[in-house]
Amino acid sequence: MKYAMLIDLRRCIGCRACMLACAQENGAPLDYTYVNAGEYLTLWALGKLEGYNTRVLQVETKGEVKYIPLLCMHCENAPCIAVCPTGASYKAENGIVKINYSRCVGCKMCVAACPYGARYVRKVSKTTAPAGVVDKCNFCAHRVEKGKKPRCVEICPTRCRIFGDLDDPNSDINKALKVIDPRSVKVLKEELGTRPKVFYVGL
């Protein structure tokens, strides 16, 4: 079993419904929710960017506006797991990169290691995670393990997020991949060798 997500950017309208749904489902922070690439870079460079589980990045190139939803890439070769001293970050059998909050020491090594900026330190505690530990998207594991889809996938009005098991030929994601030109399917920062499990179409 290997869960993955395909995001069709040609369909994304930047409505933020996924972010709101995620925040509701996972208690994720919603500060700086809607920023363009330049603003994002500035906030990041100043260290003022709050964490998020999923975020919609607005990129403007040559007058064209594109929305890029970002989340944990659930990398096959996850750097966050390699640097975690306590074993709090681990890869579940279904391919989801998870955090054992009761083991997280809050050293932020994984935050530094993640090339996608997917991790953040929780400032507010939630039922399962105290403040001070690191958090991120977990593909809504609590839902997925009950056979449901992640909340962001379920809520997306344009169905730009497609989720499923790569090992299951009948899964939604495999069905979608069959009809999409493989050359148009991309991952972020492939050169780093992290082998992300979030794929993009229309980058």
Partner: protein, 269 residues
Amino acid sequence: MTSTVVPGISQGIAPPFELGTVIYYWLAGIATFMFVGAYALYRKLGNEARNIALTSAVLAILAALSEIAVLGNPSNMVYIFTNPMSPIAIDAVAAGLFIVAALLFALFYRKPVAAYLLGGVATLGAVLWIIGRALVFTHAVGRPLWLPASAVIFPASIMLGLAALVLYLQVWKRTPDAVIIHIASVSTFITLYLLLVLYTSVATVAFWGGVVAMTIYAMAYLVYLKKPAWPVVLTMVALALVAGILLHQFIFEIGYRAPLPGEIYVKYQ
């Protein structure tokens, strides 16, 4: 599938670092390389080497406490060695090695064989402590060495440690050879500006480290050296500042990176 780099996606912890982390790097840098400098001058320093070793060990303990203070959930420290190849685990081992060896060095400083051996172990611990995190981190994430912010802490630590050693010796009237001071100060000026200009991600640490290091050197010169050294010091500082500003502008000019908010860039017309 081809790769695409989306602007703005994090390449590491963004500056400014948390205060506790800055203090950690700061104290660790001073502690380790102050000791290494004293160890190199062991025969010459005698009793002072012992005092410096003790001071270094105390500073290292304070650094470790500072790092623990910034942990989000320090109660889980019991699991810290679950992954011994984590940079944090390497840090803990190296820091422990340095502290214990430095304390033993102070205890056995009168016995040359033991002192050299223990000093060597402490030096190994010092280098591992300061550079180990960066190297392990770099290896773990498969990125170039210059991207993780901690990679450039190593030269900054050498400078800070030597600066602290010089200050220590100056304060206690044990002035080292003028050649050592000159070499240390010139290397400080050059390296600091390279760090400041090329690696903005550690600007907070490197810049303020540099400001303090330069202040220390300037104080050492101005207070303890002969008056004819004044013009030399002031000229060096002025030249270093001008060179740093020009290099900074050059980096923006060639498009190596864009200026961040607050950074001044006067575009050449």
